[in-house]
């Protein structure tokens, strides 16, 4: 079972690496932020698996905090991004 979970960690880490490539490439800010969200989700999965494999139950708490704050960061990104689109004159945003 441990081997299976470790392989799963490896796979998710590979996905996380692909997400990093997407952060580096961009090209737009939104692409980068979506990639950061993907990394956040992958990080939560890795933490849950690592907590089980290595017997650190507190890793679940770190995963909980990441889940809540990654959501918060993406919303903050959308709010700041919208206000920027408006100042660029790219059209009225839905909310401000």
């Amino acid at each position: 079972m441990t081997e299976f979970l470790t392989t799963a960690v490896g796979l998710i880490l590979a996905m996380l690496g692909l997400g990093l490539v997407s952060i580096l490439r961009g090209p737009a800010d939104a692409d980068r932020m979506m990639a950061a969200q993907l990394i956040g989700t992958a990080g939560i999965a890795v933490l849950l698996l690592l907590g089980t494999v290595t017997g650190v139950p507190a890793a679940v708490d770190v995963a909980l905090i990441l889940a809540l704050l990654a959501t918060f960061a993406s919303i903050a990104f959308v709010k700041k991004g919208l206000s920027r689109l408006e100042t660029d004159g790219a059209g009225p945003g839905e909310d401000r």
Binding site: D29, G43, I65, T71, A76, D95
Partner: protein, 314 residues
């Protein structure tokens, strides 16, 4: 070499690469997003190093609230960045490079050449863990053995909020921080701002409560509560409170205030400042932490909301 070691080496290489890219990329916004991802990955590394308390703080501050502060700053700077053509002179850049390189060299020396055996108080902390009735050594150090440092830290948070407020213009003095957010009441943002905070509040209080015996504590819990508060503000469901309001200021001083009262109590009835009577150590520490949870959540929320921009009447 085991497969776990391979993963750890790969993770370390990825984090180093991302850190270098974050410094090198010219665009502020991209650098900020890189920094948020970097915070998430560093939290993973702290868990692998068995420093779960640090991982919690890194996830809450490095990846979450700190990232949002930087996003806000990047959004604000974007307009001015395009207009600045001025480049620092060669001497300024060379001396900045020399300063950074010497700091990096000093850090490298400190890390690569530690005294042998390394000075540590960890065995003392473990052997005295029973004195407070709490099993988490980090909480023991923060709240009992080095409680003075923690109390002064909370005072620093108060000073920080005073510093942010002092940036307000004369008209907005004592008013509400940040813009008034408006969102579609039936939109997805308002829905999320109703759905997420109940779960987030439970998680925040749980992180405080579990901090007595397992990794966790008031700061991490307070950061979660602050993010939930800001989410509701950003969705336009509530407005930021005017900074002149009395209850707000009472909450801001509640944590350090209670800490100080308990500390003076130790001076009057016990042996020293902040000496907890052994029978009441755990209840006293938990009540200080509960007050600090509220104070930290409010302080972090207000730090992110920024300086007052509107007068309270509007």
């Amino acid at each position: 070499m085991s497969i776990a070691t391979v993963f750890e080496i790969a993770l370390a290489v990825v984090v180093l690469g991302l850190a270098i890219w974050t410094i090198a990329v010219p665009d502020t916004y991209s650098a900020t997003v890189g920094f948020i991802a970097y915070g998430l990955l560093v939290a993973l590394i702290w868990v692998r190093l068995d420093a779960v308390d640090v991982a919690l703080t890194e996830a809450a501050i490095g990846g979450g609230l700190g990232g949002v502060v930087l996003l806000g700053a990047a959004a604000r700077l974007r307009g001015t960045e395009a207009m600045t053509m001025e480049r620092p002179s060669l001497i300024v850049r060379l001396s900045a490079a020399a300063l950074s390189a010497s700091i990096a060299a000093a850090l490298a020396v400190a890390i690569l050449l530690p005294p042998n055996p390394a000075p540590t108080l960890a065995p003392d902390v473990v052997s005295n863990a029973g004195a407070t009735g709490m099993a988490n050594p980090v909480t023991n150090v923060l709240m009992a053995f080095r409680a003075m440092d923690t109390m002064l830290e909370k005072v620093v948070l108060l000073l920080a909020i005073v510093g942010v407020w002092s940036l307000a213009s004369d008209q907005a003095w004592g008013g509400r921080p940040g813009p008034r957010h408006q969102a579609d009441p039936n939109g997805v943002l308002a829905f999320l701002a109703r759905l997420l905070p109940p779960a987030g509040i439970v998680v925040g209080i749980y992180i405080l409560w579990t901090g007595a015996d397992h990794p966790g504590g008031a700061f991490q819990g307070g950061a979660v509560l602050a993010s939930m508060w800001l989410l509701v503000i950003m969705a336009g469901l509530v407005d930021t409170p005017p900074v002149r309001s009395r209850w707000l200021r009472l909450v801001l001083v509640a944590g350090p205030g209670l800490f100080l009262v308990v500390g003076l109590g130790g001076l009057c009835f016990g042996s020293a400042f902040l000496a907890y009577p052994a029978a009441f150590a755990k209840p006293l520490i938990l009540s200080i932490e509960a007050a600090m949870l509220l104070t930290i959540a409010t302080t972090l929320g207000l730090l992110l909301a920024g300086a007052p921009e509107r007068s309270a009447e509007r």
